[in-house]
């Protein structure tokens, strides 16, 4: 009993949990900022810049404005971060899926778990009482609303296509591990013709969901002074920036899991070649898989977030909504229809 309690503790705090998310998330954010700078002919900050930002913010003084509700002001960021870290636990790393967490959440639940960080940042912003935060949270909510429809369409089409392929009794499956296991056997989903529009749609949703550049009307520092974070300073602000970075990691790793699931297998038998067996082999494969996952995440960030950030200008909030509910949703709907009628 104590052993697996300790194991869960390690899982939650160290490996796929807090420390892993902290490092890879901030590293991913650093790479993203560097890529954007390089595309604008700038040298760009060092890769570890987000770490410096985070620790500097921890060192700064936290000011609670008079109009703010102190408890919500301080607790909201922590709640958002915790929810995000727990969400990252459920995303399997190729074969590696912690048995204890396999049957806790599935695709639809993850869709809703993504809402909690958004709600936490909204609550945090609302608690400060500043009008900038008011406008910010209204825009954040509309962005979340905008990203919901395409995300739902993509997840339903993936669930349906894998369900049919596996021949599940009801013809649909939502559990991530079955999807990954299916991809391990018969190649990643990106190669399925009917799911390519879904993959593109999901790629377009990532910047919207994480609130990155072209869709960051909610935290537009030029128009509404960082929106909901206008009144945040010091450690809570650091936590929000950290959860923004981890959300980028979560979204990209979700994309990798859903559409590049099969890639991890190759590395697996490489380990067999080296002749490691038993526990060591599993550990090494897991490490290699994590490395492959991170590399794929970096590629997806480069394409999905950095490139889009460098090339486009910030959209107005109603343009964001219209863009997501027409262009991206049409793509996703196309793939749903294709999947539905047996392609």
């Amino acid at each position: 009993m104590i052993l697996d309690a300790l194991k869960t503790l390690i899982y939650v705090l160290i490996f796929p949990g807090f420390l892993f998310c902290f490092l890879t998330g901030l590293l991913l954010a650093g790479i993203d900022r560097k890529l954007v700078a390089r595309m604008q002919k700038r040298v760009g900050p060092p890769i570890l810049q987000p770490f410096y930002d985070f620790f500097k913010l921890c060192g700064k003084q936290t000011i609670v404005p008079a109009a703010a509700n102190k408890t919500v002001f301080l607790v909201a960021p922590l709640l958002g971060l915790a929810a995000l870290v727990v969400l990252q636990l459920f995303i399997p790393v190729f074969q590696f899926q912690i048995p204890a967490f396999a049957n806790v959440a599935d695709l639809i639940v993850i869709l809703y778990l993504l809402l909690i960080p958004a709600v936490s940042i909204i609550l945090g912003g609302a608690s400060t009482g500043s009008p900038y935060a008011g406008i910010g949270l209204s825009r954040e909510m509309v962005t979340v609303l905008a990203c919901e429809l395409p995300l739902v369409l993509v997840l339903l089409s993936v669930g349906r296509s894998v369900g049919v392929a596996i021949g599940a009794k009801e013809g649909i499956t939502f559990s991530l591990s079955t999807i990954v296991r299916y991809q391990l056997e018969s190649g990643s989903l990106i190669c399925k013709a009917s799911l390519i529009p879904a993959a593109i749609a999901f790629l377009l949703v990532i910047p919207g969901e994480t609130g990155n550049h072209p869709f960051d009307a909610a935290e537009a520092e030029t128009e509404i002074c960082e929106g909901m974070l206008a009144e945040y300073s010091g450690a809570p602000l650091g936590v929000y920036k950290l959860s923004h970075a981890i959300k980028m990691l979560t979204m990209t790793s979700l994309f990798v899991m859903l559409f590049f699931g099969g890639i991890g297998t190759g590395i697996g038998n490489l380990v067999a070649l080296i002749g490691l067996t038993g526990g060591a082999a599993a550990a090494v494969t897991m490490l290699l898989d994590v490395l492959v996952l991170f590399v794929l995440c970096v590629i997806v960030t480069a394409v999905g977030i950095s490139f889009v950030h460098a090339v486009t200008a910030r959209l107005k909030i109603e343009q964001i909504f219209k863009y997501y509910w027409t262009v991206v949703s049409a793509l996703a709907l196309l793939s749903l229809v294709l999947v539905w009628y047996g392609l």
């Binding site: 595309m39 002919k41 040298v43 460098a310």
Partner: protein, 423 residues
């Protein structure tokens, strides 16, 4: 809906970023004539405070303390924090005391770092007791007749004072005065100094052709007899020379008169005339004076190489004196001690032309000729030539004379240290 930057973004991703990789270091300098940090040369400053007046940011201040021996010790500070770096002060400083370097690192944590200051001692004017010791014989002290002229002493508050007798009201001082503190009216011959505007920079004294303005430190001047010298009123003959054999005497209304025989129509007087009142035509050898324009300043007489223009107070000159070798007359009453030491090595002493060595014959049309043996190609003659007719090249050892430009004034002859030029 177009995305204009896709191509650039991708291509730039793999190319070198266009960044100067600037790392803060002090050695870097601005562009060639970048107006950066100010450097103040206290020794050159004469505390005329012109820079303070023109500075738009009121960045320049000064503090004067009296030193034990009565001079005032002036500390001038330039506050870079209030300076707009327009360098107007540098332009206005007549003496080059202010200079803008190319160093743009003007970062300061304390106010003092931005203060550039310098101190110098400004000699108070030598105060003479009323029975002043006899003025040291000025090199060209005018042989002023000692009878009862009034003694004009320079003022001690650094402001100029006018010597009415010498002043010809030519208004040059007023025009030159940077502060516009002088008002000279030629019609009713008034000379008025605006006390508080005047900065005592001495530009007027310097510019005054007649040395009729005394600055502190100049020697007091005893007035000549108030009445104009009893020079015979020169008849208003301006055109051709007077009938042969008659004496040409200077006019008493202060305007110049030409001695046609001596004049070589070199047009220097026309060029020098500040008022532009002279027209000299070399081709048909005419010398016309525009009466009302002429201010009677005497610059033409002074500039005339052949001393062919007489000003009031000069001795009458026989009209038909042969164009003998010009005997330069120390005509000017007080040789001006030009502020800027001309590199002219020898004082204008009496000079007897060395007789020419046999092989080089002086030319007959009044143009100089070079004696290659003596010439050391020091290029002084080229420099002194008022019209720039000489080209001397030290390295190639060539000496070229441009005949039609040369006016035969003899300057090169006079200044040539080796007497290698014959006229």
């Amino acid at each position: 809906m177009d995305f204009p930057f896709i191509k650039e973004a991708l291509s730039q991703l793999f190319s070198k970023p266009s960044c100067q990789m600037y790392v803060p270091d002090k050695t870097k300098e601005g562009a060639p004539n970048y107006r950066g940090r100010i450097v103040f040369h206290p020794d050159k400053c004469i505390n005329c405070m012109m820079c303070e007046r023109v500075c738009s940011g009121n960045a320049i201040t000064h503090v004067i303390e009296k030193t034990p021996e009565g001079d005032d010790k002036v500390t001038r500070t330039f506050y870079l924090g209030s300076c707009t770096f327009c360098a107007t002060c540098m332009d206005f400083c007549g003496h080059g005391a202010i200079e803008f370097t190319r160093d743009y690192h003007m970062i300061a944590t304390k106010e003092e770092d931005l203060m550039v200051s310098g101190t110098f001692i400004k000699k108070a004017p030598v105060k003479k007791a009323p029975a002043a010791k006899p003025a040291a014989p000025a090199p060209a002290a005018a042989p002023a007749p000692a009878e009862g002229g009034k003694v004009i002493k320079p003022r001690d508050d650094g402001k100029p004072v006018q010597v009415p007798s010498k002043c010809v009201y030519c208004t040059i001082c007023a025009k030159k005065c940077p502060a516009g503190a002088l008002e000279v009216d030629r019609a009713n011959k008034t000379w008025k100094l605006d006390e508080d505007n005047c900065v005592g920079c001495g530009t007027c004294a310097e510019a005054c052709p007649k040395k009729a303005i005394l600055m502190p430190g100049d020697e007091p001047v005893t007035e000549a007899a108030p009445a104009a010298p009893a020079a015979a009123p020169a008849p208003k003959a301006e055109e051709k020379a007077a009938p042969a054999g008659a004496m040409i005497s200077p006019r008493e209304d202060g305007k110049p008169v030409q001695v046609p025989s001596k004049c070589v129509y070199c047009t220097i007087c026309a060029k020098k005339c500040p008022a532009g009142a002279l027209e000299v035509d070399r081709a048909n050898k005419t010398w016309t004076l525009d009466e009302d324009n002429c201010v009677g300043c005497g610059t033409c007489a002074e500039a005339c190489p052949k001393k062919a223009i007489l000003m009031p107070g000069d001795e009458p000159v026989p009209a038909d004196a042969p164009a003998a070798a010009p005997a330069p007359k120390a005509a000017a009453p007080a040789a001006p001690a030009p502020k800027k030491e001309e590199p002219a090595p020898a004082p204008k002493a009496e000079e007897k032309p060395a007789e020419p060595p046999k092989p080089v014959q002086p030319r007959d049309d009044g143009r100089p000729v070079q004696d290659p043996s003596k010439c050391i190609y020091c290029t002084i003659c080229a420099r002194k030539c008022p019209v720039g007719a000489l080209e001397v090249d030290r390295t190639a050892k060539t000496w070229k004379l441009d005949e039609d430009v040369c006016i035969g004034c003899g300057n090169c002859y006079e200044v040539c240290p080796k007497k290698a030029i014959l006229l």
